[in-house]
Amino acid sequence: MASEFAVEMRDVVKRFITPEGNEMAAVDHVTMQIKNGEFFSMLGSSGCGKTTSLRMVAGFEWPTEGEVFIEGKAMGHTPPFQRKVNTVFQSYALFQHLTVYQNLAFGLEMEGAKEEEIKKRVGHALEMVQLTGMDRRRPKQLSGGQQQRVALARALVKTPDVLLLDEPLGALDLKLRKEMQLELKALQQQLGITFIYVTHDQEEALTMSDRIAVMSKGKVQQMGTPVEVYERPANKFVADFIGESNFLEGKIKSLSKDEASVFVPSLNAEVVGMPISEGLVKGEEVVVSIRPEKIRITEKDAKNTNLFHARVTNTVYIGADTHVYVDVNKAKVKVLEQNRISRLDPKSFYVVGQDVWLMLMPENTLVLKKD
């Protein structure tokens, strides 16, 4: 292959005119490098620019500024039908006037493939998505899950260098979606081609991706492996968007080479010894972030750093876990306790009004810049 990167977006901007006549940047100076054979996800809520980015790779939209490269080649205004990428559409966009077989054959006919070859490749593709024997049906006669597979097979039969998937599982029910997630991941590993996957579902992105680009307001907020974006969110937005977090506002009291102490007014106390990220200065207004499952809750005062007295205000039993809501001075904090032991007695759980101690272990906390 010509390039190390399957797809590269270099400082890409896409501006639209809104119905009110204002100019709006749907994609705002985005740079991404997607490696060959990678399962790459763009994650964000609607309007964050993820779909527009994908459409610029496919060629349905052209960047206002910047450039999209596929296999190292600048795409410019290359139309979609001359790009070696294929798309699985959110709406599937199956041709209702054609049978399943004809839908799959469409792209191969456009390449000018011979009938025999088409037959072979379509048969193979149908087998791959387990739809053998459905080739004479019309898309309307298939279930949602089957239609989704047809859309997938129609794109894959062209053996693209890069497969683009725009929320392909959005229309399926939860159980089917979970099955398809694993199937898609397995398929991607088996075929070894690059997948670019757009989704608003963080769990989906974490399950499937090698790397994730978390996007918001047309910008990439963070790019990294699932572990990186969850364990080391780059900012408050990412920490909030992926998983859950308790945020405590404060001010940096002291700063050493690799540790910071932050005074948190709502706790009326200092949280000390936390690992720091780049660019923080002493006296800066920051947010201390800690995930609910990473807070230790104890009944006794265990003489430790970052130990705070708290009172239980509410508990919710969820089955696998119990959510415990506590007040620490004026701060409201959520703690997630795993139900490791089977028990029935209500007294064995935390009860409302109970006095407890919270332990915020420094290695589990993060100091993030205020947005």
């Binding site: 060629g59 349905f60 939209e61 052209w62 139309p79 979609p80």
Partner: protein, 298 residues
């Protein structure tokens, strides 16, 4: 890729087709200001106002209405006024009846199962798949045979004799309007969620109250567009009216057709222009109402 991109061929073709659609209309309007009485040739516009009509051969030199001479002429034409009155009377009466019974049958066909349903549904397509002239001579035959028989049996004479007139035109108009109203309302009902009615009944409304307070207001836009379609079809109808009208029930299209077979003056153009203006205003008003409605919904 811009989804709204069109090839130059399409744009040129569209412009040409629009030209084809509008050139005759523009010509029609221009000729309504023609100075020539014969209207065979265009002799320029009527130039001046004066207190009376000045003619030079067949040319109108000046008129109290100036360039609008033929419009004034039209206004004084009693036959046109009568034909216009007839047209509107027939259109209004037929639309009201057709809308009421068409809406009823649309509800029946969409919501109920009954024995004659397939027959009722099928009969709706008759006016679409059969040329209008076949229907026209059919009803003409029906009326003439029926009236002949009744007149003979009851020994009617003079004014009491049944004959073609406003009533036969109206009744025939209803016949071809009803299928259109039914199909339009039916299409609207297809997208109607039954749970609204179930909710109303759940909240204590009986069938009639549910219809009056929930169903009807919700299908009203469909009923209105059905009624409007029926009304315009009636205003526009030539063939059915041609075969079913009698003395005293001449409508505007019939009147214009009669003129075309005799000597034509630009008065016909003036009449056409007024007609086009009325259509223009009506369609424009409708579009504005529809736009406002769709904006409210979005």
């Amino acid at each position: 890729m811009n989804p709204f991109r069109r090839s130059p061929f399409v744009i040129v073709a569209a412009v040409l087709v629009y030209f084809f659609l509008y050139a005759p209309i523009v010509g029609l309007v221009l000729y309504s200001f023609n100075a020539s009485r014969a209207n065979v040739t265009f002799e320029g516009f009527i130039p001046a106002f004066s207190d009376r009509v000045v003619m030079d051969g067949s040319l109108v030199k000046s008129s109290p209405c100036g360039p609008f001479h033929w419009y004034c002429d039209l206004a004084k034409n009693g036959d046109v006024a009568e034909a216009a009155g007839n047209t509107l009377t027939i259109a209004f009466t037929a639309t009201i009846i057709a809308t009421v019974i068409g809406t009823m049958s649309a509800i029946a066909l969409q919501r109920y199962d009954f024995k004659i349903k397939p027959f009722s549904q099928l009969s709706l397509y008759i006016p679409i798949v059969i040329p209008e002239i076949v229907m026209g001579i059919g009803v003409l035959t029906l009326f003439s045979q029926l009236f002949g028989w009744v007149n003979e049996v009851f020994n009617l004479s003079g004014d009491a004799r049944l004959s073609l007139g406003m009533a036969t035109v109206t009744v025939s108009h209803i016949a071809f309007m009803v299928p259109f109203v039914t199909l339009v309302v039916q299409a609207r009902l297809q997208g109607f969620d039954k749970s609204y009615e179930e909710a109303a009944m759940d909240l204590g409304a009986n069938e009639w109250t549910t219809f009056r307070r929930v169903t009807f207001p919700m299908i009203l836009p469909g009923v209105m567009s059905g009624a409007l379609l029926a009304f315009t079809l009636s205003l526009d109808d030539f063939v059915i009216t041609f075969f079913t009208n009698g003395p005293g029930s001449t409508t505007l299209p019939i009147y214009v057709y009669g003129l075309l077979r005799r000597i034509i003056t630009p008065q016909v153009n003036a009449l056409s222009t007024v007609w086009i203006l009325v259509v223009f205003t009506a369609v424009l008003a409708l579009q504005i109402i529809q736009n406002r409605e769709s904006k409210q919904h979005s």
